[in-house]
Symmetry: D3
Subunit: 150 residues, 6 copies
């Protein structure tokens, strides 16, 4: 495998931003997911208490949306692009919370990093809000599940 | 478990920032780790090519340091605090890259969110730089490994 | 009134970002205004002293332009969009300063939040610069005055 | 009134940042309030619908906390300072929503601009989330209500 | 020369953002360069030590790319625009490091400020990383070398 | 000269943030200067037109203060620190504008990067505001002139 296979690296291995100026503007969608494993007590607390649960997940949702909008400030070689929508979905399961994000743009480059960033920051925010009661949470299974170009 | 157990929630479940004004300034250290699983080809490419490897990990390191410094902008209820140091360590293994972060502060509150954020953004940056050659990477095992208050 | 009437809320009341991917890019203009009430002495000082007045309003103007450009970082469910222009106008009156902002974009969504943000931050900046001499200022009457879609 | 009375202006009227290096670090609290006037229908919708209401105010709360933390990025001559706490309180009244913010710091300078910024951005966020159903909202009565130095 | 010749100033000299809403979206390229003068020892250290050199310049490159993307946050009257690419080139010479940047966009306004900002921040980053061993570095010769509109 | 002489590089040349946790908080001052060379016409325009001149330099001053406050966001290995003051001084000379900045902090590390950043961004802002009438400006002579630790 030759070095140029890494699209962010020059032939001599130097980090670079990909030139997208010749690419067409297209509608692009990317979905990502992740999971934060919590103790049974944390899950029970999230399930029982209507308002706190709403608030924990609402705060995580807002944090994720805000982070997705600044993906290009977090990931050095990402291009800035206008998000048409970023949507978050949470599912409280037996052993943790499943997080899914969908990003949509009309741009010259894809949005999988936006969805992955949204999922990651949502998980970090849940961690932050539950860490006083649960010291053993683990964030994982963060991956892209779908990528569409129309 | 009563709602106040969530330190970021009021008795009625409303999200709030914890008041740390009565807490003493102490030297605090927090370590976190994570892992990004890559294909054998990606690992081989990272291992073989001296400069690209250096660059991928250097870019990830810089992105992680920059993200740790803006943790309070990413995680809504985190306090801003001055980092004395944030250090990243990468280990290229058989099936992926292990990422470890150590944050140090002299502040009224701990820095585990800073270390977790650094690990997460380092993993996202590696993902971004390898995604042209590897579509199946998974980020996981992100957790706090040590927390010290001196 | 059913819940979906709130465009930022799902049918079940969850906060969400509106999907604008199907909307056409159009030239959009929005105007907003506001007022900061000051003491007679503050108004007199702003009127008499040529350079300070210039500077107070220039600083407020720059702060407002900068804030308008980061509206989507301040208002969680706002879309990022490229501003073609943001213009501020100040009028020193008997009992305070009237502030007017006009934002222009070519985008899929309107710019009233950009103009409202510009007016708000202009008022906050005037407050900050005059607060050493005037402890009783009040910011108000912030509203959209015109919205055009071409 | 001589020009130096404006603490942010030099003797010749040039904008400047106040030198606080000789001031002691003290615990400082500042409270501010504001009001967003809405139609009866908007108030009824906020009152009737449990989850949307919760979400509108939670989103406004998070936006306000995040904005307070970046006050020095919004108001050019403000000093950056570590917030020990920023707390928001909302009261749905007959003709609108009353917003109150309390900021606490241990720093060399006060936090009234942080509380005023929090109130302003909370109001702007409510405006953004209700503007699809209410075109005539007005934000006002934004002022400092208390300032304490311990 | 009349005042309107300054495109960022009104007829009466007030700072303003230029209205670009009537300008066409075009592919625009701008190149800039600069130089940081270092001691012979610093140059020798950069030349001899393979990994440090790589790292110093990689960190400078990343910092420059990140700064170029936030040019409109740094330069008050700049418009935000989507960068298709920003590329940095470093040349270690006898008495210092030459820095060149190329920015490409498809937008209504040019990108010379993006390239100048990239060069400036690259130089500042090299300064920061070498300042422990070299107290007499000087940054200079920062200028636009080419501007293309297609 | 061995690699550790670069304080931002490990023994093996890896970029790192210096650990300042054992350093005392001290009052620290750093001064920097720079110069933007302009055409005679630009200087004459800046000299003759009272308000535009005021405005160009006021905008540059505000941009510089704002940039100094976010130095740690621009220069990757810089620590965040609270600025007690950042002051800018401009002198219109025969062939250009001399820019001087003074930064003051009470922190564990120095502020020369803050002063250098302020000078650089002030020069970039002047460039931006004069570029419509002067295509040949050059920014240079940016250096630290004084560093004090009390």
């Amino acid at each position: 495998m030759s070095s140029p296979a890494f699209s962010h690296l020059d032939a001599d291995g130097t980090a670079r931003m990909v030139d997208v100026s010749a690419k067409p503007v297209q509608r692009r969608i990317a979905k990502a997911e992740g999971f934060i494993a919590c103790s049974t007590e944390t899950i029970q607390a999230l399930r029982d208490q209507k308002i706190p649960k709403g608030d924990v997940l609402t705060v995580a949702r807002i944090a994720a949306i805000q982070a997705a909008k600044k993906t290009d400030d977090l990931i050095p070689l990402c291009h800035g692009l206008p998000l048409d929508q970023i949507d978050l979905d949470f599912e409280i399961q037996e052993s943790g919370v499943a997080i899914r994000a969908t990003s949509i743009t009309s741009a010259k480059t894809g949005v999988e990093m936006e969805s992955l960033t949204a999922v990651s920051v949502a998980a970090l925010t849940i961690y932050d809000m539950c860490k006083a009661v649960d010291k053993a949470m683990v964030i994982g299974s963060i991956r892209v599940t779908e990528k569409i170009k129309e």
